[in-house]
């Protein structure tokens, strides 16, 4: 019995020690944030006072994404946002207010995301969140944020669950909606490349599966085109000879591939190895839209692959002033990090956020802020080729440019192709 007493008392004293420290930390953080956000924090939707996180000279913005762990590469999104915020702040801020980014490391673990989302919303009292990374983490906090009506701008996942059907507080995704991308690529493959026998290779996760479903559904619109083979793999796979064998056997004229860069490069390598290079290789933007793919797969191997992009590569948009600013600024802030890829999605998301704040004007409440998105109609003053919102369109990004790999470069080969959310049809821009 002596032992039990001992153990219990130890537990207890420990709990006490920890709790005291924890709550001292907690109170300090709340006081800190309330002092920084001043008397305006208690406002809510509908009231004419300013929303939480907004003071006369500052707007607090939150961001959640992994900074360490297996998927830490997406920390580049944060760097993109951070870089743009710095740029805006140095040029006088938005409507006279400085932007302040509060970013936490959720390590891509939904439990942590939920915890930290509460921290951002309730303790730090940020005004909005921008560009949050990942499907599972975003889905885990969805119910909580919808209930709060908390503005989420350009979340970092293209799943339908966040944008289709539209949710009142979710505005856009900084990766084009997966099913839109699938439809645009499919349309291009059939109309422009004359695909008849399509094979699909997909990463077995949210990204791949949603694309697979989309393509199967969309194919009903194209009689005479069939799926001859489906192969799948997981994101961490490195051995693709079995998939390559299956694809070769099915002998498709077009392979549509949906994955992150690693598997895309390895599958193409495996195909190249067994000499199966005839089929058009159409790859999703996540993998093909980054010139790092030439590094990974090799120039000759990747030659001729098609992909779609929402943000042009810096090299082909040299005349675009927004792109010039991005290239100059980001390479100054983060000289050791790659330019293409995640930093661009972060920067682009931040541009949309800032533009929306600008358009909302001085009466910055959540309601007004969310409404301001509906004024985006083919807005082109960002590094995105175009951004559009509407009552029935919370996608934000709906158009892509198809590109092809030639001699180690990703060259645009089409005009922007746009998906119309109202009619659910695909249009080539004239």
């Amino acid at each position: 019995m002596a032992i039990s007493k001992k153990q219990l008392s130890i537990i207890i004293s420990l709990f006490m020690v920890f709790m005291l420290s924890a709550c001292s930390g907690g109170t300090s953080s709340t006081t800190e944030s309330s002092s920084s956000s001043g008397p305006d924090t208690n406002s809510n939707e509908g009231s004419s006072e300013l929303a939480q996180g907004v003071t006369d000279d500052e707007i607090l913005i939150g961001f959640l994404g992994p900074q360490t762990g297996p998927i830490a590469i997406y920390d580049l999104v944060r760097k993109g946002i951070d870089s743009y915020f710095k740029y805006v702040n140095e040029n006088g801020g938005v409507n006279g207010r400085q932007l302040k980014l509060i970013a936490y490391d959720d390590q891509y673990q939904p439990a942590k995301t939920v915890q930290l989302a509460k921290r951002l919303v309730e303790d730090d009292k940020v005004f909005a969140m921008v560009g949050n990374v990942g499907t599972a983490p975003n889905l885990a906090v969805k119910d909580y944020l919808v209930e709060k009506g908390f503005p989420m701008v350009m979340t970092g996942t293209g799943v339908n669950a966040l944008t289709n059907p539209p949710l009142p507080n979710y505005m856009g995704s900084n990766i084009i909606n997966y099913s839109i991308e699938g439809q645009i690529l499919l349309h291009y493959a059939i109309e422009e490349l004359g695909a008849k026998k399509i094979a699909i290779s997909y990463q077995n996760d949210d990204y791949g599966k949603e694309n697979l479903a989309t393509i199967k559904e969309a194919l009903e619109k194209y009689p005479g085109v069939e799926i001859v083979e489906e192969v799948s793999f997981i994101a961490t796979d490195t051995e693709f000879s079995s998939q390559a064998q299956k694809l070769e056997k099915a002998n498709p004229d077009t392979i549509m591939h949906f994955s992150t860069p690693g598997p895309a490069a390895n599958l193409k390598k495996a195909l190249y190895r067994i000499g199966f290079n005839d089929a058009n290789f159409v790859v999703a933007s996540v993998a093909g839209g980054d010139s790092n793919i030439f590094e990974l797969a090799g120039k000759e191997v990747w030659e001729g692959s098609y992909t779609g992009m929402t943000i042009p590569l810096p090299d082909y948009a040299k005349d675009d002033p927004q792109m010039q600013v991005f290239v100059e600024r980001f390479s100054q802030d983060y000289p050791n990090d790659p330019l293409v890829g995640s930093p661009m999605t972060g920067w682009g998301a931040a541009e949309v956020l800032v533009e929306a704040i600008k358009r909302t004007g001085d009466d910055l409440t959540w309601d007004n802020f969310l409404k301001s998105f509906y004024t985006f109609d083919n807005w082109q003053d960002s590094i995105h080729s175009s951004v559009t919102f509407g009552e029935g369109n919370h996608y934000g990004l709906t158009s892509m440019t198809v590109t092809q790999a030639k001699d180690g470069e990703i060259l645009p080969i089409s005009d922007p192709i746009t998906f119309d959310p109202a009619t659910r049809e695909i249009k080539f821009q004239e």
Partner: protein, 288 residues
């Protein structure tokens, strides 16, 4: 056929990673979970030699292995020596801690963007009887076999090998018999880390170079080593090869996503029938 051959080649990569693991375990009885991350660091170092200094492949390899040797000694002296007689679980958790530190440090220094790593030999694949195989892959297979045989013979027939085996069986008795146990342990850590480094440099062209490149490989290497009995070098290679082939067969005939489930199911069945692993020898119950 191609599937089996590719599986064997990939199995060699698991085997290479497993060799160092088994070598360290066989001698020091420490299951080193940080092995993969140490290999990853070595590979990054060789990459720095290759790109920043522009050394040729072979020179970079040698320099990187030199680094690995020193790194192995460093880990041994700073961390592992102090816990050599601690409970095994402490050692395991310590290596898990090192795993996190090394991974994080590499992430801070080199970032998480994957980059490509050159193969030892370039060249288009040859077609032999409907099977495609490249020069580099042949090299990997031969390298694995040479290393395995070399260390197997070293353990079996040399004085050093005898000392290593003795040290792992009974540290104190070996010490009394005049074996410098700490020297043997130093050697095991140095060589084991260098072996891991070779494994890393063979893995990097396939998985691409990034701080997380070894995690998947190491888990399967660990599984392969255990399948082979965990104290047998040929067993480790054999286990790695089996896993490589099975993985590929499952991913072709059943479902690629479920391969890890089936691989471990297989291991479970094998171990249920033979709890000491395929090459584990007779089961000895100690500590009565």
């Amino acid at each position: 056929m191609q599937i089996i051959v590719s599986g064997l080649i990939f199995g060699c990569i698991y085997a290479l990673a497993a060799l160092g693991l088994v070598l360290i375990f066989k001698t020091t009885e420490v299951a080193n979970f940080a092995h993969g991350e140490m290999a990853m660091l070595t590979t990054f170092v060789s990459y720095v030699f290759l790109t920043s200094y522009g050394f040729p492949y072979l020179v970079s390899l040698v320099l990187a292995l030199l680094f690995a040797t020193i790194f192995g000694l460093f880990v041994y002296f700073v961390f592992m020596k102090r816990v050599q007689s601690a409970p095994h679980l402490n050692q395991v958790v310590l290596t898990l801690g090192l795993f996190m530190v090394f991974n994080g440090v590499a992430g801070i220094i080199w970032g998480y963007q994957p980059s490509s790593f050159p193969e030892a030999f370039h060249g288009d694949p040859y077609e032999i009887g409907g099977v495609f195989i490249s020069l580099n892959e042949i090299f990997v297979v031969i390298l694995t076999l040479i290393l395995m045989l070399g260390f197997f013979l070293l353990f079996r027939f040399t004085r050093l090998g005898l000392a290593m085996r003795a040290a792992s069986q009974d540290t104190m008795a070996s010490e009394l018999m005049g074996i410098k146990v700490s020297g043997v342990f130093m050697g095991a850590w140095a060589i084991g880390t260098a072996l891991g480094g070779i494994g890393g440099m063979m893995t990097a062209p396939v998985t691409f170079l990034s701080p997380n490149m070894m995690s998947e490989v190491l888990i399967l290497a660990f599984a392969g080593a255990v399948l082979g009995g965990f104290i047998s070098l040929p067993g480790a290679v054999f286990g790695g090869l089996i896993i490589g082939v099975i993985e590929n067969l499952i991913s072709y005939y059943i479902a690629p996503e479920l391969k890890i489930v089936f691989v471990f199911l297989l291991i479970l069945i094998v171990l249920y029938i033979r709890p000491q692993g395929i090459f584990g020898g007779a089961k000895i119950i100690k500590k009565v």
